[in-house]
């Protein structure tokens, strides 16, 4: 093989999207996609929702049928770990000892769940991979007592799914409110009410002191307020850590993720990064996004730039979460805002609009897809937004798109 081609470390959404895009763009050289899980690339979002509930068969999770990779001449190595990047030699060393040469390398190594102290006890689970979901689905038997640690989106989705499966669910959040890091108090209130109304014992401002166990199996938890809680199962939803160790060992700059410039390039011009593992420039600072939308878009720009396109990656953050009968869709990033305007829609629809002065930063839309779609457009376009119009439930939001 004379053309060294492209090597992609990580076969999640970003790695898959990059490989696929490289072929779409006409790259004819070798592409090797290295995944450390046994399954071919699959969708993670349904794992905590439809898949856990048994509503979606395993095959439907796969981003493409297994035959796709051979058809598009993509070498997919599953169950394979990259152990070292040799930048001088432009080689990736694999767990089987082989060294793969590359002309361009993409790091799409993703993130891994933060673990609780006591995570080695049986019955203490996380929610990230297909194997995690399979373990959880098997463990989720009706009547069991589940403790969810962490009131972020993953914890809340796991709690909602577990309630539907007939478990008795307690969720604890150490911060004063659920979704503390990612949403306004109004959105926290909305989801607190939702979970309480569906029977989740939701407790905020109380963290985990330590887990208790007997015979290697979890039996419960002692909380920071001194209370004791028996539990048959514990799910940790306390965030993720970007997988940066390989990049760090290779001497690449990392700041809460593998640092890239606006072209998705790391400190080494032959090495790019995309997806959950990546820290990239954003409004004078840096951010790292954990979302499918970012994984796809960033990987596609990285793919184009590995072929020399010179495209600037402009993130358009968006997210969604399904809990019980509520579809939450988020456009933008709420980070810097000075007020939140509520808009009431028809029936259960409601949205929270984050403003910084007259600039819209983000919108949380609950069961209101029209609001979400308008907000996405408005954010892409920029410019001032009339908060009074937003707050008036009788106003037509299309006015925000006019002119």
């Amino acid at each position: 093989m004379t053309d060294k081609g492209v090597v992609i470390i990580g076969a999640g959404q970003a790695g898959f999207s990059a490989a696929s895009k490289l072929r779409d763009l006409g790259h004819g050289g070798p592409i090797t996609l290295i995944g450390n899980e046994p399954a071919p690339p699959y969708q993670r979002p349904p794992l905590s929702k439809a898949y856990l509930l048994g509503e979606m068969a395993r095959e439907r999770l796969f981003l493409r049928p297994p035959g796709f990779y051979a058809e598009r001449d993509i070498t997919l190595l599953t169950g394979c770990t990259a152990t070292e990047i040799r930048r001088e030699a432009r080689q990736v060393v694999l767990s089987d000892g082989n060294a793969l040469p590359y002309r361009r390398l993409l790091l799409a190594t993703g993130a891994r769940p933060r673990l609780l102290p006591g995570a080695d006890l049986d019955g203490v689970l996380v929610m990230r991979s297909l194997a995690d979901a399979d373990r959880l689905a098997q463990a989720c038997q009706p009547g069991l007592r589940l403790l969810v640690v962490g009131g972020g989106y993953i914890g809340l989705e796991a709690a909602a799914s577990a309630v539907k499966l007939g478990l008795r669910v307690t969720l604890i959040e150490a911060a004063p409110r659920i979704l503390n890091r990612v949403a306004a108090p109004q959105t926290s209130d909305y989801f607190r009410d939702l979970h309480l109304s569906r029977g989740v014992d939701l407790r905020e401002g109380v963290g985990l002191a330590h887990l208790t166990g007997a015979g290697g199996r979890v039996t419960g938890a002692v909380l920071t307020d001194g209370s004791e809680l028996p539990a048959d199962l514990v799910v940790a939803g306390i965030g993720v850590l970007p997988n940066i160790e390989l990049a760090q060992a290779a001497g690449l700059t990392c700041e809460n993720g593998i640092s890239t410039d606006e072209y998705c390039r790391t400190a080494d011009p032959a090495i790019f990064a995309a997806g959950d593992c990546t820290s990239f420039p954003w409004r004078g600072g840096r951010i790292r996004l954990e979302s499918v939308g970012n994984a796809i878009d960033q990987a596609e720009v990285a793919a184009a730039n590995m072929l020399g396109a010179g495209q600037v990656y402009q993130a358009k953050p968006w997210f969604w979460s399904d809990q019980f009968d509520v579809k939450l869709q988020i456009a933008g990033l709420s980070g810097a805002h000075d007020r939140v305007v509520t808009r009431l829609g028809a029936g259960p629809a409601r949205s929270h609009w984050y403003f910084d002065g007259d600039r819209l930063q983000a919108v949380d839309a609950m069961n209101d897809p029209r609001v979400f779609m308008v907000a996405k457009r408005v954010l892409e376009r920029g410019g001032p937004v009339d908060a009074a119009l937003v707050a008036d439930p009788a106003s037509d939001l299309r006015a925000l798109l006019a002119g």
């Binding site: 981003l63 796709f68 969604w320 579809k327 897809p369 996405k376």
Partner: protein
């Protein structure tokens, strides 16, 4: 098996055989039909699996729900009558012979 034809915006037609139970979006994905992105994987959250349904099929499909209706309104060049999101259409034996046309772009 259920036969479904996807026509690209440039007129290229792909006739595929699908197993009931999948969605029309998944049928496109699994058969490598270009032009359907489905970024959200079928959660009706992104409106990037939009198609125009052939006129004679509109009445024969299960109707849109409110969520699909609202998402479609902001898809790329939606048609009030013919547009659908393929992630919301389950493949059933009744759909045998369905023809859908892809828009020029998804977003």
């Amino acid at each position: 098996m259920v036969s479904i034809t996807y026509i690209e915006a440039d007129g290229t037609a792909h006739k595929v055989e699908l197993a009931p139970g999948l969605t029309v979006m998944e049928g496109a994905r699994d058969n490598g039909i270009p032009g359907i992105h489905a970024d959200c994987g079928g959660a009706c959250s992104c409106s990037t699996c939009h198609v125009y349904v052939a006129a004679e099929w509109i009445e024969r499909l299960p109707p849109r729900d409110d969520l699909e209706q609202d998402m479609l309104e902001f898809a790329w060049e939606p048609d009030p009558v013919r547009s659908r999101l393929t992630c919301q259409i389950k493949v059933t034996p009744e759909l045998d012979g369905l023809v859908v046309t892809l828009p020029e772009r998804q977003a």
